[in-house]
Symmetry: C2
Subunit: 159 residues, 2 copies
DNA sequence: CGACATTAGTAACATATGTTACTAAATCGG
DNA sequence: CCGATTTAGTAACATATGTTACTAATGTCG
């Protein structure tokens, strides 16, 4: 079945695509595995992943708008909107109409919201430590640098 | 090795969780971005992502069962089942009852299925080359090694 | 053999997520 | 100022994905 592919002059005969060696796929799969693990932590606290992400963004910078959350995470408007509504219903975030712009909701954490975030953050950081423990220090540095470059690479091309 | 960051005994002044620096999140987000890009390629060929994954697995090893696909990808039974049904309807894969075990579907690519796979594989590999072009050779090596370790790490803990 | 547990796959159901269209508020250009 | 355009957010709709329960075929062990 593998026909003898003649090497083109100047062109290399390409490697074939094997899923386990295809980098984008590997990263997606790895992310999927991480998500699964972390989802347990969130679920134990009655949070979905989008809710957790919103919580995390609002925890970092108070008075954020939903649109800021959209800009900083891989979630679209609607997902964020729903997560915010749910977090408000559970009294973890407050939604206040911004005075400057009354279209905007200024989001902030309630006391329980902050406590919840801190609790999950601790577990999440433990998880991260655990993950990264398989890498030596050189690998961590290079891995981090490579991630940064890849992030910049995909961010570059505008949608 | 994961609890040695706190400087004050008893005081938990751990680093705080910042989403953009949280490795699992970064990987998920990066994967999301990649998926988005690649999805265009598949969509141009009228394929969904699960369909593409099934196609890729079957392309590598003929006569695979749906359960093998489940084992090799981050998809559950049902997602694979649907993708296979759809691929069969489009005449890209064949489903034959295995003789040894008549519960099992032996999957294989049709001629058009193979052609489709080859076509997409070329585009996908181009995409990968493009991505990785931002990394120098040392970074690629270390990045690959780190990925392998992380993959092994998450595979280790059984569900 | 023959009840019982296990496995591959699917169907029916529930939920989650994305898409399009809309509303209210703000900004812009005259 | 005032109509036209943009923006933040949501609602209504469509689709996709996961969950549970079921069927058919094997395997197991008395």
């Amino acid at each position: 079945m593998s026909s003898t592919v003649a090497k083109e002059p100047g062109g290399d005969d390409r490697r074939s695509l094997i899923l386990e060696r295809f980098t984008p796929y590997r990263i997606v799969a790895l992310g999927h595995a991480f998500s699964g693990r972390l989802a347990r932590v969130y679920a134990d606290q009655n949070l979905t992943i989008p809710e957790w992400r919103v919580l995390a963004v609002v925890a970092q910078a108070s008075k954020v708008a939903a649109r800021d959350v959209v800009a900083r995470t891989p979630m679209d408007k609607m997902t964020v909107s729903r997560a915010v509504a749910s977090l408000e219903a559970k009294a973890f975030v407050l939604r206040a109409v911004s005075e400057n712009d009354r279209r905007v909701n200024a989001l902030s954490l309630t006391k329980t919201g902050r406590a919840l975030f801190d609790r999950i953050a601790t577990l999440a950081l433990d998880f991260e430590d655990d993950l990264l423990s398989v890498l030596d220090s050189e690998e961590r540095v290079v891995f981090d640098r490579a991630l940064k470059k890849l992030e910049a690479g995909v961010a570059g091309v505008s949608d």
